[in-house]
């Protein structure tokens, strides 16, 4: 499934839940939860607590993250918040500030 795409210029404020992948190139504020993956593109901004199967951050993410599979911060990505996931990678050039809990 294609899932949801929050394109550049789109702003979602509130509670966002889904059972499909979510790609964020715009802005999401509030909470974001999906049983699939969340991908935050280079220009994407997420200011929300995030729950997903897997999370990839190439843009900006401010909020606590809980992923049942994995969390990856790409080069240039920025994550401020606590991460709770059994697998967590931070690419060279990424920035991160927060606590990590891999004991899931």
């Amino acid at each position: 499934m294609a899932g949801s795409v929050v394109g550049a210029g789109l702003i979602i404020e509130g509670e966002f839940t889904s059972d499909e992948p979510v790609v964020v190139e715009g802005t999401v504020r509030g909470t974001l939860s999906t049983s699939e993956s969340v991908s935050i593109g280079g220009d994407g901004v997420v200011e929300a607590d995030l729950q997903a199967l897997s999370v990839s951050v190439a843009g900006q993410l401010t909020g606590n993250v809980s992923a049942s599979s994995r969390v990856d911060i790409q080069a240039g990505g920025r994550l401020i918040g606590d991460v709770k996931s059994s697998r967590f990678t931070i690419a060279d050039g990424a920035s991160f500030r927060g606590n990590v809990d891999m004991d899931v």
């Binding site: 499934m1 294609a2 899932g3 949801s4 795409v5 929050v6 394109g7 550049a8 210029g9 789109l10 702003i11 979602i12 404020e13 509130g14 509670e15 966002f16 839940t17 889904s18 059972d19 499909e20 979510v22 715009g26 802005t27 509030g30």
Partner: protein, 184 residues
Amino acid sequence: MAYASVIAGSAVIRGNVRGDTSLEILGRVEGDVGVTGDLSIGPDAVVVGTVSGARVLVGGSVEGDVTGTEAVIVADTGRVIGDLVAPRIGMSEGAHVRGAVRTEGAPSVRSVPRAISEPRSAAPVERPRPVVAAPPPPLAVAVPAGTVSKPAAAAPAGAKKAPPPPVIPAPRPGVRARKKLARR
């Protein structure tokens, strides 16, 4: 048509969605949706809130006003409970719409309630007239007030005669008005 943003069928958003983009909604949004680009509301989509876009295609369900800066098109699967406002409005056979429909450019919020209130105000249209007829009484009151000085006995008598005339010219158009004045 390709939309820059998509809210998937399984997605539920409780909150507002806005931006300078085109958007396709296939899921559910409980909140206001406002984009400057085209907006498509899919057959299974539900929006509870106001909706606005450049060209708005309603294939699903909307509970709220729908505004299109260019057009609003309600497909045969579409269902709208709310007002439609756009320079161009299209409704397919089978579409379900309950609300005021106006093919206008710049939407003005005020004229919507006017249009709705017109049929209701038809009966009570005469109510404003009593208000117009209201001025005479104060005049009548004012005259006696001036005569309280008792300069002459004839003056009060004249003053008492004075009030009737203003009442007489008013009655025919305002017979009902007098009655209503009495009620008030």
